[in-house]
Symmetry: C2
Subunit: 132 residues, 2 copies
């Protein structure tokens, strides 16, 4: 909303470069916000390392004490990042006894990858971009 399209210029027969083609926008505003939120959860070196560490575990899961060491971060900070990843739907948290085990949600990363690879710039069959 609040997209008012203030057309106070670039309007008419002028030889401006402005000839926007809003034919098939591959990404509406709402989808952009949603995808950006998921990407923002990924856009951090420590969180990427957390995901890789959890996935690299032979059991497919890891507890917090496994992750504070390699990351060289405090325990509250690791917990904070894990919460962000859980909230983004990338990790699951299962509390068994005293420890919390985190596991990678299979398919979540692929979903984001698909959105990045095909949801922003879909291939359209009428523009030879690379004449080479």
């Amino acid at each position: 909303m609040t997209l008012s399209l203030t057309s106070d210029q670039a309007d008419g027969e002028t030889s401006s470069c402005c000839t926007p083609q809003p034919g098939t926008p591959a990404l509406d505003a709402e989808a952009a916000v949603e995808l950006a939120a998921r990407l923002k959860a990924l856009a951090d070196p420590n969180r990427l390392t957390l995901l890789a560490l959890v996935a690299a575990d032979a059991r497919g899961e890891a507890c917090v004490c496994d992750l504070t060491g390699p990351l060289d971060l405090g325990q509250p900070t690791v917990s904070h990042h894990l919460k962000i990843l859980v909230d983004a739907g990338l990790l699951t948290r299962e509390k068994r006894g005293v420890w919390s085990y985190y596991a990678v949600v299979d398919g979540a990363l692929e979903s984001i990858a698909h959105a990045v690879g095909h949801g922003i710039v879909p291939p359209h069959p009428n523009s030879p971009l690379e004449p080479a």
Copy 2:
């Protein structure tokens, strides 16, 4: 470097949950920083919309004046976001005459998508996570 793996705990025969398996980390620290930087360039609704707008143009390119309208942002802000995208290798800038034309770098988004989909949690053939 500087990963000293301070083993002052989680070491030995204790029944701790901590049994990290640093066998094949799919993402080292340097790669994590690099991938996070590229994702950070994408993790913004306005920048995603910019990419979609540029790609949606029939000519495969667009100038700044085409983009300030739909985004409901000021021209300096749009220029700022475009610079971030160019700097991240996602867009190219070509100045023809007075106008600057931006085009999507073909393959860049796919590269990021591949890293997200296969560079963090690579499929390993000994854990039937999804029996479906």
